[in-house]
């Protein structure tokens, strides 16, 4: 089932949570809604789920699976079941794991109703899928965070939803568990191929899991694209800064190169460069370099990470290969010169509509 979101806006009293958001999610796609806290991404998810009403003019349409007959519908019911996983799981505390997962099947009325044996079979199959069939009679408070999250997912999957919505599914878990569950979710998605939309503020998670990433800031959609697009081709300074670390240089553009020591009549611009796009030199090499001091060198990991301090207190992060570091003989506290080898310039925010 595809999801078509058009012109969604939402205000709570005087506060505008969402401004005219439009997004298409294709059947079977895994899309991440990425943004800082308070940017409106959870509100958007809740509107899609039907838990909140968008302001006038917006619409959410659900399309049929490819090959199926019939038009799309405007609502989540009418056969198009949506699975929702809450940030804090919202498991029913007074029910066992088995009953939690069985809930959606037990409350069905009419023709879709299953007998007890059929329900048991389905629930146990799901529990096996999440590798928790031995814990069926436990209660939520007896489980760890990661286990609870998996139960919440199984419960949402029990009703065979056509779309899955996840609200910061791994936000409340510690790093190790988060990593494992991320990989597990990706594998699950490969297997089940359900259209999935998940909300996160963790860019690493979004880039690792999603087929496409939608970056949201202060209620506006900044960019939608594949993880590679969003990382390497950011549409704005916000996206670049949010999806990775950004180094900022104030200077002027002369013949396609940044210069920092002349041409005061040219407009002052902000040059944005990633950590691995900075060149470190031990000698002053023309107007494209700026002096800095290595405040800290982190030798752990595949690259050497350096924190630099400029003469005017600017903070930069550079990443160099171990070989290059050795070549230059870099040490903590050393005075060096930094040059943005590759950079981007974004139009100032006010100029865009």
């Amino acid at each position: 089932m595809s999801i078509e979101i058009k012109g969604i806006s939402k205000s709570f009293g005087g506060f505008t949570a969402l401004k005219d958001i439009s997004l298409s999610v294709a059947t079977g796609e895994l899309v991440a809604l990425l943004g800082p806290s308070g940017c409106g991404k959870t509100t958007l998810l809740r509107i899609i789920a039907g838990l909140e009403e968008p302001d006038r003019g917006g619409s959410v349409r659900f399309g049929p699976a490819p090959g199926a007959a019939g038009p799309g519908t405007n609502s989540a019911d009418g056969g198009h079941q949506i699975g929702f996983v809450f940030q804090h799981y919202a498991l029913f505390r007074h029910m066992t794991i088995f009953e939690n997962v069985a809930f959606g099947l037990r409350v069905r009325r009419g023709s879709g109703r299953l007998g007890e044996a059929a329900i048991k079979e389905k629930v146990m199959a799901l529990l096996r899928l999440i590798q928790m069939e031995m814990l069926a009679q436990r209660y939520p408070h007896q489980l760890s965070g990661g286990q609870r999250q998996r139960v919440a997912l199984a419960r949402a999957l029990a009703v065979e939803p056509r779309a899955l919505l996840l609200d910061e599914p791994f936000g409340a878990l510690d790093a190790q568990v988060r990593q494992e569950l991320r990989r597990w979710l990706r594998r699950l998605h490969e297997e089940l191929k359900i259209t999935t939309l998940f909300v996160t503020h963790d860019q690493e998670e979004a880039l690792e899991l999603a087929d496409r990433v939608a970056v949201i800031n202060a209620g506006k959609l900044e960019q939608v694209g594949s993880p590679a697009e969003v990382f390497n081709d950011p549409a704005s300074e916000f996206v670049m800064n949010f999806v990775g670390k950004v180094n900022l240089f104030q200077g002027r553009l002369v013949q396609g190169q940044p210069v920092f020591d002349c041409c005061a009549d040219a407009p002052l611009l902000r040059f944005c460069a990633r950590a691995h796009e900075l060149e470190i030199e031990t000698r002053h090499n023309g107007g494209s370099t700026l002096p800095a001091r290595i405040a800290r060198m982190l030798d752990t990991g595949a690259q050497v990470k350096m924190e630099l301090r400029g003469r005017e207190g600017q903070a930069w992060h550079a990443e160099l290969s171990h070989d290059r570091c050795r070549e230059l003989g870099l040490r903590d506290g050393q005075e060096i010169w930094v040059r943005p080898r590759q950079f981007r310039i974004f139009p100032p925010r006010e100029a865009r509509a």
Binding site: G50, L51, F86, F92, R93, F103, V107
Partner: protein, 285 residues
Amino acid sequence: MQPLSTGSSSSVARARVNTGPRRLLLGLALGYLALFLALPVAFIFIQALAGGWRAYLTPMSDPMALAAIKLTLVAAAVAVPVNLVFGVAAAWCIAKFEFTGKTALTALIDLPLTISPVISGLLFVLIFGLQGWLGTWLSARGISIIFAAPGIVLATVFVTLPFVARELIPLMAERGKDDEEAALLLGASGWQTFWRVTLPGVKWGVFYGGVLSAARAVGEFGAVSMVSGHIRGRTNTLTLHIETLYNEYNMTAAFAVSSLLLLLALATLAVQTLMNRAESGAAGG
């Protein structure tokens, strides 16, 4: 090898809490309870049984006493279910929704607790009494509310109104809406969500509130006194009957019947304690 520190091991090992003030406070609290609670309770039982078992049991089987007990039970039997339904509904609205008049409703629920029970009773007299607003209308149809059982029931319902709601509002607010939203998204209808998710989540609160309401219903005096008319055998509740006995200087009988109320109070405490244990032992309440 030199010891790391000198000085007595006990002063290092013991926690640095001054037990003196703690013992004093504990002593004060226990002393207060003993003087104002335990002693009077014991005294009532002692006095009640002073004349032996026969003297103790006879007042209870007196037809007036039995009528009083029956009336009290009827009032409680009506007040508790009515306020359970109201309390659950009101708490649910207040805890989970925003609506105009929410603050007013919350304040109104507290009203029976803040105004004197005597005034509560008077309210009903002013509305339903012969000289009251509905007085002529009611007497034309031969309906008596005041100085009859219905009035007592009404007054009891009024004074026990807040208990279930006040117990449930914080409980429901703490649960939040997540569980119910999850249930609705899984395809449950409103009623199914209410019975399968909302209520079981606060069942201990519902029991607590019910028990508190029942205890208050049985022990109410001021409000029912105003609407009762004190007609022996017809409009006396247990508390009013005890007052009558006391006014007639029938002390043994008064104490004997009072012990009934005391036993009820002790039973209520026992139920509460059991529920406390069960709640902390059960699956997350």
